[in-house]
Point group: D2
Chain length 343, copies 4
């Protein structure tokens, strides 16, 4: 059994990690920490876990993390950079679900996240944990930068176009719609039901932190700088991301359906739907699936990709478990086989 700990378990990413790891057949979840909720029953904070998780949140100061095989950071940005180096030195593997190791350039990171980076040397070692791109490196990694939710859905949607050199990469557009859980569980007037139910809005159009992350991934895939416009929108729902992607085809006669199906034929968590389909976010709720379809509207050279995920699973905790499975040579789908509940 893999001995695992979660640092910062009271957010939405935390509760999903607890749900997935507590039922994972090869994991023993040894500790979940929280400063604010230390000594409270986990199931008192998250009542869905009553009868399944009987432990308490622990103060991080009381936990010897070095004894575990793997530590997950479900903390705000800026926490993992202060603790990861010592854990790695002690031989513990680390998956950071925040953004601390996602950008390769410390300068860019410091600009977008507004703080100095405590261990810039680890940025090159950290493996960006998108298994569909980096599976081999993930298998050998000590430190995983788990991707952001928007970047997961946007990159998985664009990659077949870019890797096959099918589109003009100067004017990529990603119009993304996210449920409110993406903003976390922190008290915030802007995220009250009274503010965002029966309402849709875009936000951060001038620039969102996930923009450099997506651009970095697409640039690597293209082999050159790409031009990307990324507009996130807040939806009146709890979970789910729907990314609608636009690009201009170089050759509008290409068989998109075949290209997408071939690209992801061996991927356990990417589902390319039949020609003409429209994926729905609810169909992946609670699961690690990225579901997509490719469209070329008539009389147009614009390709439209629809790519959906559950922002808290494939966009966070589920992808982290997938990465852990790869790191420990387990079946990649282990503990991630659940079916979305519909309706």
């Amino acid at each position: 059994m893999i001995k695992a700990a979660i640092i910062g378990g009271t957010g939405y990413t935390g509760v999903e990690l607890i749900r997935l790891l507590s039922t994972h057949p090869e994991v023993s979840l040894e500790a979940v920490t929280s400063r604010a909720c230390a000594n409270q029953l986990v199931a008192d904070v998250f009542p869905n876990l009553r009868g399944h998780v009987n432990s308490h949140f622990r103060d991080p100061a009381s936990v010897k993390f070095n004894e575990y095989d793997i530590v997950f950071f479900a903390t705000p940005n800026g926490t993992a950079i202060t603790m990861a180096p010592a854990l790695l030195d002690a031989g513990v593997r680390v998956i950071d679900l925040a953004a601390d190791f996602r950008l390769k350039e410390a300068d860019a990171w410091e600009q977008w996240y507004g703080m100095p980076h405590a261990c810039p040397d680890l940025l090159q070692e950290a493996v960006y944990g998108l298994p569909e791109v980096n599976r081999e490196a993930i298998g050998k990694a000590r430190l995983i930068a788990n991707p952001g939710c928007y970047p997961t859905s946007v990159q998985l949607g664009f990659l077949p176009l870019i890797e096959n050199n099918l589109v003009n990469t100067n004017n990529l557009i990603a119009d993304a719609k996210s449920g409110a859980s993406g903003a976390g569980r922190t008290a915030n007037t802007n995220m009250l039901l009274g503010e965002i139910s029966e309402n849709v809005k875009a936000y951060a159009v001038p620039g969102h932190r996930h923009l450099p992350e997506i651009r970095q991934g697409l640039t690597k895939a293209a082999g050159h700088e790409v031009g990307l416009t990324f507009v996130p929108h807040l939806m009146p729902m709890i979970r789910g991301i729907h990314a609608t992607l636009y690009a201009t085809l170089k050759d509008s006669t290409v068989d998109l359906q075949a290209i997408y199906e071939n690209h992801y034929v061996d991927e356990p968590f990417v589902d390319v739907m039949p020609h003409g389909s429209h994926p729905e976010t609810r169909s992946v709720s609670g699961t690690n699936v990225c579901r997509m379809s490719a469209h070329k509207p008539r009389d147009s050279d614009t390709v439209v990709i629809l790519s959906i995920i559950d922002n808290l699973v494939k966009g966070a905790a589920g992808q982290a478990v997938q990465n852990m499975n790869i790191m420990f040579s387990l079946e990649e789908t282990m503990g991630l086989e659940g079916i979305a509940v519909l309706p």
Copy 2:
């Protein structure tokens, strides 16, 4: 492996049965029928099942139901009464998720359901499938009347009070709140999102079909006629029932917490929360749990019971699977161990 079939698989009860049976370790789901969707892929109608269920809906006329060990009716009221007798004669066990066998008196059934009953003789044989009351009889039954969603939450909440003779049974009040999935998947202007989102209303206050069903169960528990007022309300959400129950205590010094905990101490799917708690419907979404708490507001002899379920699971498909497990001497929780997804 138990060979199972579902008749009428395109409603919300149907999709939940498919989800639960397709992953049940001791069940082989051999056929799901639908006249309207015959020959369509199940996963085209319910995209959450893509990658999990690869079969097609079948026309019921093409299916030899006698070959199965058990048949589930997820049909409208009035269907099971036309097909169940022949199935039982052929040795097939039957669980009806509609209301055809829930009332013991054919007269009452015909009055509330507005049609003649085709096999009134089976009403006495049919076992009312509430395991917390009838576990032993369920284990020997050929024919199960799976309880309604409201009746499950209301009866489980009231039973400890009534069986222990703690309350006046002349003026029981059940104020129940249900998500919209309780009305099914049929096209209906009244159930459009545009009609019921951002809206709460009571309905059927003069009399709802679940009233005689609840009254029958509580009367049996009390040993005499009970007086019950039942008011259902429609909530702007998909799933969940919250039943708020009121009764007058005969002795207001009784230890409600101990009584409820003792009553359900051995029940795998009833969770009595700690003193002072308020259960939330989301905490059981997708699961077979009935979660409850008992309150006695200060300076009052009124007891308030809060009892929640997922109307499609413990209130329908999950309870049907629980009944099947009992009928076939399987572990009662088999296939029903999932954790609710939160948020």
Copy 3:
């Protein structure tokens, strides 16, 4: 023109007051204060007011409230008690939309609100601003305690039964369902969309601050102490209260429909629906109407009253404007004629 000011205009009660007063034909809204948002454009905080309200929030320290005819407190509990005495001395009329003057007994107020009352002598002078009960006193009042949202819907529903001595008043039950805006606009994890969408729960069953307020009103109407159980529930919607009220009839042959229609025949803001109706909260959204229907389920001596309001209008800002209209001898409906938007 009546010169009016609002103290504390950045909450949900505040924005509704601004909306209603800014279009009232006999009011000049001279100042809206906020410490936190001082000098911000009102319409930057509440974008629905763009093009309608061009003023800024002002720091209360900079405002001479004595110059106004009326001051509305849309502040947290405990603010009005510190400022109202001086305003009244200066001849300004005051309507407090918080709870500072709702209870007649200072002891009870201090117990339920957890702070000393700064001006208990004003509790007797303050008029409880429920026009359907106190219209004449409101017309002569200097100081109005605007009722709570739950108390408005519950009292208006129960009053015809109690004033006509039709029910047993020992076991009144009020099961109330409220939208999330009732909890205000303060940042609060428990009110995030991620926490309360797709979810229903009861809260404060052991005792809610609106219980003594309702009990005070019903006791006054009955002429003796009443026994009341009050259970509030949180609904996954923004606005609206649906109160479902239960009582035992002394004479079950009474003509409830006639009694309710007669009781409210002259009331401009109480709408008794036809026999057999079920009011919907959306039908009064944004309006000052309390809509209700009276039911007596068959074979029962229990009466069921369904009473709905918009918690922010008839339950707060609209009722405050109605009170102001009465105080200044204006047409009672002035500025309150809008139609609910449906769907």
Copy 4:
């Protein structure tokens, strides 16, 4: 007073027309027809109208439409073309809120709407009722084709760019998000709350009927054919459209803010927000306002326009009233001054 009638008043467009016309100071709403609901009280179908509208739906066969000054068609596509010619001959002015007269080419209309056009000669006479484009022609028109909801938000957003020749018109992209009321009030499984709450999806990506309508308007503005990709999405909410528009700037140094403000400076129902703003759909709910902002993300030559409306008001009934006001030389904002209710 203008004598008006509505044909087909039981849909969502119908109830909004009734709400707006029944309070319009210069209109007498003489008849609202419905075959299905003939002789029912309007307020029994739409309870928000209780106390405001006391008339019944009338069978269209019983109504002499020739006696009215104006007739509004709130009917399905294909109805107005059968009745409008006779009305126009009788001197009645006609506003069709369906699509019967929106496309100038009968061939295109027949292709997209799947039926023959009964009066193609009227297509040229009909004035497309977008006041911001055609105000003068509307003032002289007998027959108005009221624009679709998506086309209103998309055209108003793009027009300043196109009329000022600022963007490449080969690759315009409109990513539009709509509430469920856009699909009308017809019973439809796909629009049940159980299907579309907690869910986001795109639809009709291969081609939507509003595509030719938008393209026609933008082509006229550009003076040449434009290339447009239009992707509609269904949101889990009742009302509102958020159109996110993308185009490539010819000169990325242009002052977008000034251009938008100048373009709409005299428009009573177009609100250009300050630089850097993000409009929210709730801010225009129930009102006739189109609110927008213009963004140029850093390091990019892509312009992003955010344009929102209430699909049932500026996208349907409100715009129809605005057109009527212009046709009858009334103040253009008459009857359309309401403030959105927030929260």
